[in-house]
């Protein structure tokens, strides 16, 4: 138990913060109910995937600036493929887009390993490239999405035997998020590959000396990042029904949530749960600001300030750790 607390202390704190925020929300808006929670879950979805994508590479000691652009590209690809196509066709589109994300992510990693150009430059260049590619796929927001895909994240999960009042608090979007993340993350965490990802982020030299194939592990970490980003892109298409070629504000949000979630920017530390909870915290802050009838633009500023403050704090901690 003490182990659990020591390790998960940060995440536990975040959970507590989240609960406090929920209570605050309820106080601000007594009518805040299951429906609002459902829309929160839907709003969180793309952010959560972006954060998952960022988390994997940050744990491996890198950073991925192309997350948002990758989401945009996968989103427009999915939307343009599904536009006017049959419902069944989407069954093919989903795995195709996921595979695309995986391959493009692996390309990121491969370029870093082969060219030896720093990750930050490679992924910045990829940001340009993916953005451009997204514009080539769809010049303007458009395309479509299969109905069953859209239905997957709207509404709640009916569980037989549970009263509706509890049921209502289980939005499908949350389920999709949990399932998608767990399918990738849990086996990874238990495998030697997962350990290797932590190892290269924690100490590349020690990992090398322990016999970890450093280059291969790095490429896989970026590939997984691409896979999560593709999930995020699909989530965007699923929730809006279209694809937009201009990347959303997911890059900075993902970095901020990663830092807030207790994953050190130096690598090797933290897990996926923290950043995901952090996303909920950040989104809920936004909800609260909106409920307080604050100008949405001011909300954007406050959000930006929080993110920059969090990133500065994270850098400060990393710097202190190094000394």
């Amino acid at each position: 138990m003490s182990h659990f607390l020591r390790r998960q202390g940060w995440v536990t704190g975040l959970f507590a913060l989240l609960i406090v925020l929920f209570i605050a929300t309820k106080l601000i808006q007594p009518g805040y109910g299951s429906g609002d929670f459902g829309s929160l879950a839907r709003a969180v979805l793309p952010y959560a995937f972006a954060v998952a994508a960022q988390t994997v590479v940050v744990i491996a000691g890198g950073i991925d600036l192309s997350v948002a652009a990758m989401m945009a590209l996968t989103s427009v690809t999915a939307a343009s493929m599904m536009a006017g196509a049959s419902e069944e066709y989407a069954l093919f589109v989903v795995p195709f887009v996921l595979a695309m994300g995986f391959v493009l992510g692996a390309l990121n990693g491969l370029l870093i390993v082969v060219t030896r150009v720093p990750d930050i430059v490679v992924t910045l260049a990829m940001l340009f490239v993916l953005q451009g590619a997204a514009l080539l796929v769809l010049g303007a927001p458009g395309g479509g999405a299969a109905e069953w895909l859209k239905a997957m994240i709207s509404g709640t999960v009916p569980i037989p035997g549970l009263p509706d009042t509890i049921d209502a608090w289980l939005p499908k979007a949350l389920l999709v998020l949990v399932v998608c993340l767990c399918i990738v993350w849990i086996p990874l965490r238990r495998s030697r590959l997962g350990l290797s990802i932590y190892a290269i982020g924690s100490s590349e030299l020690a990992a090398f000396r322990s016999g970890v194939p450093v280059a291969r592990t790095r490429i896989i970490a970026y590939a997984l990042s691409g896979l999560f980003a593709a999930m995020g892109g699909l989530a965007l298409t699923m929730s809006t029904g279209i694809g937009a070629p201009i990347p959303g504000p997911y890059l900075l949000a993902s970095v901020a949530a990663v830092v807030l979630g207790g994953v050190a920017l130096g690598g090797g530390k933290g897990g996926l749960l923290g950043p995901i909870v952090a996303v909920f915290v950040l989104r809920l802050v936004r909800t609260d600001l909106t409920l307080l009838a604050i100008d949405p633009n001011v909300t954007a500023i406050i959000e930006g300030l929080i993110m920059v403050a969090v990133v500065m704090f994270g850098a400060f901690i990393t710097m202190r750790g190094r000394q």
Partner: protein
């Protein structure tokens, strides 16, 4: 005994660019023996270890394991071949718990537990994160992890450094038994006591070559010291005339260091540095000299003790504070001191622009004159002055010193300035340091080459295990004496002093 060697490396060579780290090293280890690998700083020990463990690849040479030629391309390949190293820096992943670290390397857990108990750590929790475990314990865990897979050849690099006495004893005990079990251990150590107690034979490296393999018998220390030093044991004369000595003895020391402490690396160092002298510092690698220089240069903050400059205590928060006090630091690694892509002139003039008030336009003519006179004084070959990285190592080193000559620093801390540069430039640097002292400046001079001490220094400060061993007047500082002192052996002792050296003194301060 005609047993064939477990490990047989011969003709191993490794070049880094034009620099040869290893020329012709060989090492042959028999089953059941504990074999010491010895050599002075820079003799090539660590390079050989890296090659044997697959961290780097040799340019030439042959490695046989159990009589079979093996190509060790990676640490994983070395493991498969039955070669397992335990480095000075523990190679456990800091952010993973012990159990995950075992899984990462495919180490069986139960044998590991058994070894950990055997090594004297009864209460280890496998869920502890490596970062939270004290360094000494971590090193023992690293050893246990290696032992658990029963390697044919175990490579131990300074295994007992930083271990408290009780753990060190257990470790030595276990290592000795490893030999009895028919496996082999390669034992790298600076401590004669341990080697005498533990090892069967020793291979001695010098300048990248194996210069001898000796059986460990009582009194062999002298022979090993001789081998490590080579033929240079002849006493070099003290190259200094009376006129060079400062005419007047100053009233108070330029710098007084009192009970200086830096973390666990340096404890209780006290000495004075006077104007007009070159004080030498002699130490084996990693005995705390890096921290001593960094603290004096303002790069790190000491954790205890005082530094006084001209009689008044100082606290340096940034190198600029030290520079304002007239103390300049010339690091040993030239790539630490130079902006490699910039010109000789810019590098020499760099300190001039440091202060905020000097950010404006540069008085080019004045600067050129100052820089030119420094270049002239050090005779820097300026044919490739457009970029410092195109200069030879010796000329680069001169640039790092010229910077502080141009800035007219009163005290210069020179950290191994002659490492890896040619003989001619070395001579020039010796001459320059003497000249500086002659002009009333003070120089603190760490060198890894003992023969330099008598050429350059007035006094020698010897450090071992983070503590001051002795301060020699230069007349007594011949190489054998220095070598013995650097290994922590007391001055004036007889040849077979091995057992007299107190094994606890260097490590008693590091009990976790």
């Amino acid at each position: 005994m005609t047993t064939s060697p477990l490990l047989d490396a011969s003709g191993v060579a490794k070049n880094y660019g034009a620099v040869a780290a290893l020329r012709n090293a060989s090492l042959s280890v028999l089953p059941g023996e504990v074999h010491a690998l010895m050599g002075a700083n820079g003799a090539g020990k660590s390079t050989l270890v890296k090659i044997l463990t697959g961290a780097i690849q040799a340019n030439a040479g042959r490695i046989l394991i159990r009589g079979e030629a093996r190509d060790i391309r990676s640490p994983a390949a070395a493991r498969r071949a039955g070669l397992l190293p335990v480095y000075q820096e523990p190679s456990l992943i800091p952010d993973l718990d012990v159990l995950s670290n075992l899984r990462l390397t495919g180490t069986p857990v139960e044998p590991f537990r058994a070894w950990v108990r055997e090594l004297g750590i009864p209460d280890l929790d496998l869920r502890d994160t490596a970062r939270d475990i004290p360094l000494a314990v971590l090193r023992v865990l690293d050893l246990a992890r290696a032992l658990a897979v029963e390697p044919d050849v175990l490579l131990l690099d300074e295994m007992t450094a930083a271990l408290p006495a009780n753990l060190a004893e257990k470790v030595l005990e276990v290592v000795r038994r490893q030999g009895d079990a028919g496996r082999a251990v390669i034992f790298i150590s600076h401590r004669f006591v341990e080697i005498a107690a533990l090892c069967d034979r020793a291979t001695v490296l010098r300048d990248g070559e194996t210069v001898g393999v000796v059986d460990i018998v009582p009194g062999i220390e002298e022979k090993i010291v001789e081998l490590m030093l080579g033929t240079r044991i002849v006493k070099t004369q003290v190259a200094r005339s009376a006129s060079e000595k400062a005419a007047v003895t100053p009233a108070r020391p330029r710098i007084t260091v009192h009970s200086l402490r830096v973390g666990t690396k340096l404890s209780d160092i006290s000495f004075d540095l006077w104007d007009g002298e070159v004080a030498g510092v002699v130490a084996l690698e990693g005995q705390g000299q890096d921290e001593l220089f960094a603290a004096l240069a303002g790069s790190i903050k000491p954790s205890g003790g005082t530094i006084e400059v001209d009689g008044s205590p100082v606290k340096f928060a940034h190198p600029i504070d030290a520079i304002r006090a007239g103390i300049a630091y010339v690091p040993g690694d030239r790539s630490e001191a130079l902006a490699m892509q910039r010109s000789v002139r810019e590098n020499i003039a760099l300190p001039f622009s440091a202060a905020l008030r000097n950010w404006g336009p540069i008085a080019m003519r004045k600067e050129r004159a100052t820089v030119a006179s420094a270049i002239q004084r050090l005779q820097i070959d300026t044919r490739a002055q457009g970029e410092v990285q195109r200069l030879s190592g010796g000329n680069q080193q001169k640039v790092t010193i010229a910077r502080w000559i141009a800035a007219d620093a009163r005290t210069i801390l020179c950290f191994d300035p002659t490492r890896g540069i040619d003989v001619g430039t070395k001579q020039e640097i010796y001459k320059l340091l003497r000249e500086l002292a002659g002009h009333g400046k003070s120089v603190l001079f760490y060198t890894s080459e003992l023969e330099e001490v008598q050429r350059v220094c007035d006094r020698v400060i010897v450090i071992f295990g983070g503590r001051l061993v002795d301060i020699f007047p230069v007349e007594e500082a011949d190489e054998p004496a220095l070598m013995r002192a650097a290994y922590g052996l007391p001055r004036g002792a007889k040849a077979d002093v091995g057992i007299l050296a107190d094994p606890q003194s260097p490590s008693s301060g590091t009990i976790p």
